[in-house]
């Protein structure tokens, strides 16, 4: 499948929500833990070999499950192959929990649900659609959101 790699590279260079050097193990049998600089930018998780400017790879964080595995490690698995997990080893359980939190929220799908929630709650309080007040009509919303009220 083709994708615009240059843009993905550009995204990887932007300021991140979260970045740290972690131990990372791929999902395949036989993969071993390697030190990687792991960087979260919008809904992509980039991983860099230490001292390299360009990421070795990126994970799009949609349709995925983030779980704490051990006190100091978490996994990222995709719903199409949920047994295949990327494992990340942290320095502390606090760091681990922070990553789990951040990655759980790092999907467009998650934000869409947040939007639905806030819109609905405000509508309950005021009887008005908060998005209309700001001049965002039904058409201005990404398709699915226009059906939420």
């Amino acid at each position: 499948m083709r994708f615009n790699e240059k843009e993905l590279l550009c995204i990887s260079k932007q300021p991140s929500e979260k970045a740290a050097e972690l131990g990372m193990r791929g999902p395949k049998k036989g993969d071993v833990v390697k030190r990687r600089l792991v960087k979260l930018v919008i809904n992509f998780l980039f991983y860099f070999r230490t001292d390299e400017e360009e990421p070795a790879g990126a994970l799009l964080l949609e349709q995925c499950k983030v779980e704490q595995e051990e006190p100091m490690a978490f996994s990222v698995a995709f719903l199409d192959e949920s047994e295949k997990k990327y494992l990340f080893e942290c320095e502390s359980s606090e760091q681990c929990q922070e990553w789990v939190e951040s990655l759980t929220r790092a999907s467009y799908e998650f934000m869409r649900r947040s939007l639905m929630f806030y819109r609905s709650e405000i509508h309950k309080l005021t009887g008005k659609d908060p998005l209309e007040q700001y001049g965002i009509s039904e058409e201005a919303l990404p398709g699915q959101l226009s059906k939420t009220l």
Partner: protein, 291 residues
């Protein structure tokens, strides 16, 4: 010597992407923001090919046809600009990126309405835009709950009130219109164009605080769970989804605005959408005149 050359990682190695899972995302039953046929100009081949497009979030997938099982490719839309363009092809528009040497994707819709609709959808298809809207609503809900003295479902998942909440408008500001005199008009979302708002934000610059996002009891493992936080919350009114993370601006600085009922952030946002609405109206008038 030769061995060393062979073992060196060539710089042209393509970045790995979790392609299989991305393909699954494209084809699974998660909601699409828009689907339809569009003509897409080939990269080297200058012919337009009719493809089936599926927009999900900030990813625009294209398939050979509607029945295809896998996409041919995906255009990651974050940071793009969508422009109408002059072309032999009717209802043409282009998706452009600001980074160096990036490809411009030329497309054409099958009708005026189709073109307008796609241009709008693609202009808004960024993670940053969505995040801006969510932040704004979250803030509104909090304000309302404070004003009404209600138990704060929005507030309850914040840490101590001593922390200044900050939000960067400039990085996330969507379209800044430039209504050109000619037939061209743009929905421009490049970061540089947000200067208007960035200036305001900088004047009220507040040091960026580390985003403290608190779990509100939602199980962090339920990324893929069937229970939507939104749904469960409206039913029992308790657990809202946690706050989406904040983000620094891409200008490298720490421009941000204090969130308060009178913050420029609020004013910016309503101005933004007010003006955005005017932009759309103006464009529509122009198109109608051109008919």
């Amino acid at each position: 010597m030769l061995l060393r050359f062979l073992l060196q990682k060539p710089k042209s190695d393509k970045m790995k992407l979790n392609e299989r899972s991305v393909v699954h995302y494209a084809t699974c039953d998660s909601p699409a923001d828009k689907t339809g046929h569009l003509y897409k100009k080939g990269e080297r081949n200058t012919a337009y090919h009719r493809r089936w497009f599926v927009l999900k979030g900030n990813m625009l997938f294209y398939f050979e046809d509607k029945e295809s099982k896998e996409p041919i490719g995906v255009i990651i839309l974050e940071g793009c600009t969508v422009e109408l363009c002059e072309s032999m092809e009717e209802y043409a528009f282009a998706v452009k990126f600001s980074c160096a040497k990036s490809r411009t994707y030329k497309m054409a819709a099958e009708s005026q309405a189709g073109m307008e609709s796609w241009v709008k959808a693609l202009s808004r298809a960024s993670f940053d835009y969505m995040r801006l809207v969510v932040h704004e609503l979250e803030k509104q809900l909090e304000e309302m709950q404070t004003l009404h003295g209600l138990p704060g479902t929005a507030r309850s998942h914040k840490k101590s009130s001593g922390r200044a909440k900050s939000k960067s408008i400039s990085a996330a500001a969507p379209a800044v219109a430039t209504l050109a005199k000619g037939p061209q008009a743009t929905y421009n979302r490049s970061q540089e164009e947000t200067v208007h708002f960035a200036t305001t934000a900088k004047e009220n610059g507040v040091a960026w605080n580390k985003p403290n996002v608190v779990l509100n009891g939602l199980c962090p493992t339920n990324q893929g769970s069937k229970t939507l936080p939104g749904e469960s919350c409206s039913n029992d009114g308790t657990k809202p989804p946690p706050v989406p993370p904040r983000r620094k601006t891409v200008t490298g600085g720490v421009t941000s605005t204090l969130e308060s009922p009178v913050s420029p952030g609020t004013v910016c946002f309503s101005k933004l959408h007010d003006w955005y609405g005017k932009e759309v109206t103006a464009l529509r008038t122009q198109w109608q005149q051109d008919q």
